[in-house]
């Protein structure tokens, strides 16, 4: 994946977040809280649990469908970062060779099950986080975090990160392009040049930061970024958090797939 395609991926995620659906219109705080709850509940499952996690896929699927987010796009992003999860779990089958039966006559190493559990938890939490970003503008998330008590300094840092990420990436793309055009397919003489490029970008960033600070001072900046948004939680937002929380709690306490299995078994028998 080249630098420029990675950039267009971020750009697309950002553009999706300016949509206008029932999910986009929810208060950022409600979505942040629901997503955090989701992550905590999913991660709280014991390491050999796989089946009980499956109902949780309903949450990202529902959010994605209602928020009009293309499923393929999110799936590709999840796959793109999956190597991290694979590396975390790949040695489990070796270190955990105890044998368990998964079906009559079929048994595998317990490590495979915990590996599967890691992958499922990973897919769940990452897709939920991506959907949060895809359905909530980044400034919205920042305001939500601020209202939830994150210190103002961190929030302004995040806002500047968001604003200048795109500027910095575009600058990096231009420098890399200039290198590639004069390196004639030789990958630009390797690490030494790369280090210099990073150095150049760093210096430019420092200079830019100085200019931005100058522009802020020129407009009366005195240490705090002012905001005049006054969001009010609507009943719909509260309902969303309650419904999501209730659903997570239900799926955490009641083993839904096993019940369905028993129900189907009962009907068949």
């Amino acid at each position: 994946m080249s630098f420029e395609t990675a950039y267009s991926g971020i750009g697309r995620l950002d553009r999706l977040s300016y949509g206008d659906t029932i999910v986009h219109r929810l208060d950022p705080r409600a979505k942040v809280v629901a997503t955090m709850l989701f992550a905590v509940v999913v991660v709280s499952f014991p390491k050999y649990e796989v089946l009980s996690l499956l109902p949780f896929f309903l949450f990202p699927i529902l959010i994605g469908a209602l928020g009009d987010i293309p499923a393929g796009f999110i799936a590709r992003k999840v796959v793109a970062v999956s190597p991290f999860a694979v590396f975390v779990g790949i040695f489990n089958p070796l270190f955990d060779p105890g044998v368990v039966a998964i079906a009559p006559g079929v048994s595998i190493a317990a490590g495979w099950i915990s590996f599967a559990s890691i992958l499922v938890k990973f897919a769940l939490t990452i897709s939920a986080a991506l959907l949060l970003i895809a359905t909530t503008s980044f400034p919205g998330i920042c305001r939500g975090l601020r209202r939830l008590g994150l210190p103002a300094l961190f929030v302004s840092q995040l806002l500047f990160l968001y604003r200048y990420l795109f500027v910095l990436i575009e600058e990096a793309i231009r420098v890399v392009r200039a290198r590639d055009m004069r390196s004639f397919g030789k990958k630009g003489a390797g690490v030494r040049i790369f280090v210099r490029i990073v150095g150049t970008l760093f210096l430019r960033t420092v200079e830019r930061a100085e200019r931005i600070y100058g522009a802020m001072l020129a407009r009366g900046f005195r240490g705090e970024v002012p905001s005049m948004r006054r969001e009010v939680l609507r009943p719909a937002d509260a309902c969303f958090v309650l419904a999501a929380g209730g659903f997570f709690a239900l799926c955490r306490i009641v083993p839904v797939p096993q019940m369905i299995g028993r129900l189907v078994g009962g009907l068949a028998g």
Binding site: D14, S137, F138, P139, C142, L159, F160, Y162, R163, Y164, F166, V167, R208, R211, I212, G214, A215, M216, L217, A218, R219, G220, F221, R222, V225, P226, S227, M228
Partner: protein, 252 residues
């Protein structure tokens, strides 16, 4: 109205590395004047502009805005009177949305929310960017960014508007609309640029700065048609005057 005066009296400035960027600059700009500042690269234009709102303080000499002398303590007051639009709109626009960016100045001035909203809407309407209010700056075109950058400053309703290369890197149409915009302001205007046609269109008076000193100060049409003076300062006749000069046979 004396409070719209801007006066430089023998201003000298030396950068910490020893470079003397201003070597005794004096001029007086009165209410409602539009003044162009031209000069070669490195002549001291940017340093001069950075003195106008106290981003830099003179090493010696005095800068006065209205009746307020520029000192470290008076900078907030000076900045309320003098609005500076920096050259690169990406440096000027740092908030997540256009609306919040234009509101940044008025909020820092401590205005109540409804006044702020009013000022933001007025400023955006004035530059024809009201429809962009909810957009994030990185989704704007170059011309839109320039217009919004100007709005961020006029929303503070400064007495004097200072601009560094307001139309650099704009396409001809964007440049033309910035010129129209500048001409629609009744503020005192100070514009530094290499775009001499823009200066000719916008400014009545023109200062030429060379090597940290003012070498010419007079009506813009007069100064900008002095081919010798311009050539000495790495400049050339504005394109609109080149045609005329050629027709009159003054240009070989």
């Amino acid at each position: 109205m004396s409070h719209h005066l801007l006066e430089f009296k023998d201003v000298r400035f030396r950068y910490p590395d020893g470079t003397e960027a201003l070597k005794g600059v004096s001029f007086l700009i009165t209410h409602g004047e539009s003044v162009g500042i031209v000069g070669a690269n490195g002549a001291g234009k940017s340093t001069l502009l950075l003195h106008m709102n106290g981003h830099l303080l003179p090493t010696s000499g005095a800068v006065t805005v209205g009746e307020v002398p520029l000192r470290k303590e008076t900078r907030p007051e000076i900045r309320r009177k003098v609005g500076v639009v920096f050259q690169n709109p990406d440096d000027q626009l740092f908030m997540p949305t256009v609306f919040e960016d234009v509101a940044f100045g008025p909020l820092n001035l401590g205005l109540p929310p409804d006044r702020v909203r009013e000022r933001v809407n007025n400023a955006l309407r004035q530059v024809g960017a009201l429809a962009l209010a909810d957009k994030p700056p990185h989704h704007l075109s170059g011309g839109e960014k320039s217009a919004v950058a100007i709005a961020t400053v006029i929303s503070m309703e400064p007495d004097i508007l200072v601009m560094d290369e307001p139309a650099a890197s704009l396409d001809p149409k964007g440049r033309r609309s910035v010129i129209g915009l500048l001409n629609s302001f009744a503020h005192s205007k100070i514009v530094a640029s290499h775009d001499l046609d823009l200066i000719l269109d916008v400014c009545a008076r023109c200062l030429v700065i060379r090597d940290g000193m003012i070498v010419a100060d007079g009506p813009a049409p007069e100064i900008l048609s002095d081919a010798t003076l311009l050539a000495e300062n790495n400049l050339e006749l504005p394109l609109t005057l080149q045609g005329r000069a050629a027709r009159e046979g003054t240009l070989r």
